[in-house]
């Protein structure tokens, strides 16, 4: 594989990740049957990772939605299962021509606020590690020394931070609910249980 993963990641960070929550919301509205939304999203990213020339994509948000749509149609054609149920069906993933450019550009301030808000949700050790490594740009060794942790732990905190941020970014910043369910799982099922005699 010759593609430069990090460069592509950087492009995705600017052009696709900020729209992931929108994409997920639209997919959710479609009520996909026997097709996991998360699979569609991962495959959408995969298509960007193998795209010949990302720089030629003028409207990445639109392109991401159309890619998801193409993935669903492929799935539908392949399995002959129509997976679209909602009122808007596939049209949900289309953007009216006059709106194509409207929300495409991500405002700088909004972007900074989103990233800060997400970082705030992380456990302190993960947050500190990510800040020292990726914002202040320190090498692993120095991050470890500053935080008085082992280099291995730096890696662990970083991976945990990324994992949590995947969820935080992907769900558009309504983040508390997601991080807390991992600790309090089972809560809603218990409450929802019907009384039986």
């Amino acid at each position: 594989m010759t593609l430069d993963l990090r460069e592509r990641g950087r492009w995705l960070a600017r052009n696709v990740l900020p729209h992931e929550a929108l994409l997920r919301a639209k997919l959710r509205n479609m009520c996909l049957y026997d097709l996991d939304i998360e699979d569609v999203i991962q495959e959408t990213y995969a298509r960007f990772m193998t795209h010949q020339s990302l720089e030629t994509i003028r409207y990445p948000r639109q392109y991401a939605l159309l890619t998801a749509r193409a993935i669903i149609i492929d799935h539908v054609r392949h399995s002959r299962v129509v997976s679209i149920t909602s009122s808007g069906n596939l049209e949900l993933l289309e953007i009216p021509a006059q709106d194509i450019n409207s929300e495409e550009r991500i405002e700088f301030r909004q972007e900074v606020e989103t990233v800060m808000a997400a970082l705030n949700e992380l456990p302190e050790a993960c947050r500190e590690t990510l800040i020292l490594r990726r914002i202040e740009g320190l090498p692993q060794k120095e991050v470890a020394a500053r935080l008085k942790i082992s280099e291995k732990t730096v890696e662990k905190y970083m991976a945990t931070g990324v994992r949590l941020l995947i969820n935080l970014f992907g769900r558009g910043g309504k983040v508390r609910a997601n991080t807390s369910t991992t600790q309090e799982s089972g809560y809603s099922e218990d409450v929802a249980k019907k009384p039986r005699d």
């Binding site: 950087r10 049957y33 990213y45 149920t85 069906n89 301030r109 990510l130 890696e155 970083m158 990324v162």
Partner: protein, 319 residues
């Protein structure tokens, strides 16, 4: 998010962290490449994890490389501010539970739904009845019996356990007796009474028939009671059961049904008629659709089967 996807994201995060912090050894690089190749989703998950890490650089990189005009008040990265605002995010308040007061004895009650409507009714014994489109039931509770008459349509019953007070649903000439279980009963025009059991066991017999052994139907069994033939039972696979109960979520499920049959099924739920060109009425469709959206169904079916759709005021034509 399914566990599987979350696991993939976790592995992608591990790899991103490792690759960011140090150069991988040849063996590690081979391991990484093998992981990427193992599943089509891995590359996507990895790309997103890279993107997540890169996005953090917006906090410093932006100030350096983008003299963006819209950023009138470029906040320089400030860790203290981050930490200070950290504890403010509010928890999620969840409000569960509908407390519904119900008297112990109630006279006969009628419940119904219009075309395209659904309704969930909690009965006095805490059994729950879900009425599908265009359905009518009467409910009569006495000390000894819980009696429901399905007058037309389809209903799903989740019966609260009470051995001393059987729960009996009558539909046409058929009686379905349950103790604690969940099942649907349907009484539709030109069709025999059908009973589909999701949990537990029910017993079926003809009204007025007091001798003889009732027909038992347990979970994942469908019982069909034609007017002039014996009651028969068939096993129903789990997926089919789920499909048959899809209407409770306002959905309609098809598994290789002809467009003709699909159009008839939609007719139960909506005044907007689906008209299928006879030339293609035998083409089959599979999938889950919104009961209240025949037009959406027609468009989706046309997209898959490469057909045309014409939407008019009170009908939608597929050809």
């Amino acid at each position: 998010m399914s566990l599987k996807n979350q696991e993939i994201d976790g592995l992608a995060a591990d790899w991103v962290a490792r690759r960011d912090l140090a150069t991988l050894s040849d063996a590690e690089e081979a391991e990484f490449q093998a992981w990427l190749a193992a599943d089509a989703r891995h590359l996507g998950a990895y790309g997103r994890a890279e993107a997540v890490l890169s996005r953090l650089e917006r906090l410093n990189g932006a100030a350096l490389d983008s003299p963006a005009p819209e950023a009138e008040e470029q906040p320089r990265w400030n860790r203290r501010r981050l930490v200070l605002t950290g504890g403010i995010a509010a928890g999620v308040a969840t409000g569960w539970g509908i407390a519904q007061f119900l008297p112990k004895t109630i006279p006969e009650q009628a419940y119904s739904t219009a075309v395209g409507e659904f309704r969930k009714v909690v009965l006095a014994d805490r059994s729950v009845v879900t009425l599908n489109t265009d359905t009518k039931i009467n409910v009569r509770f006495t000390e000894e019996l819980r009696e429901i008459r399905l007058i037309q349509g389809e209903a799903f019953f989740e019966v609260a356990k009470n051995k001393n007070r059987p729960f009996i649903v009558s539909a046409g000439e058929t009686q379905v007796r349950a103790v604690g279980t969940s099942f649907t009963v349907s009484l539709l025009p030109q069709k025999p009474v059908q009973v589909l059991v999701k949990e537990g066991v029910v017993e079926l017999r003809r009204a007025g028939e007091t001798v003889g052994i009732p027909v038992r139907a347990s979970a994942n069994i469908q019982a069909i009671a034609p007017i002039d033939a014996p009651i028969v039972t068939v096993a129903v696979p789990e997926e089919k059961l789920a499909r048959n109960l899809a209407w409770q979520g306002g959905q309609i499920a098809f598994d290789n049904q002809s467009l003709e049959e699909a159009a008839n099924e939609f007719a139960r739920y909506s005044r907007v008629r689906i008209v299928v060109d006879p030339a293609i009425s035998e083409k089959t469709i599979t999938g889950l659709f919104a009961t209240k959206d025949p037009v959406g169904f027609a468009k989706a079916a046309a997209a898959v089967l490469k057909l045309q759709v014409e939407v008019r005021e009170s009908e939608v034509r597929i050809f």
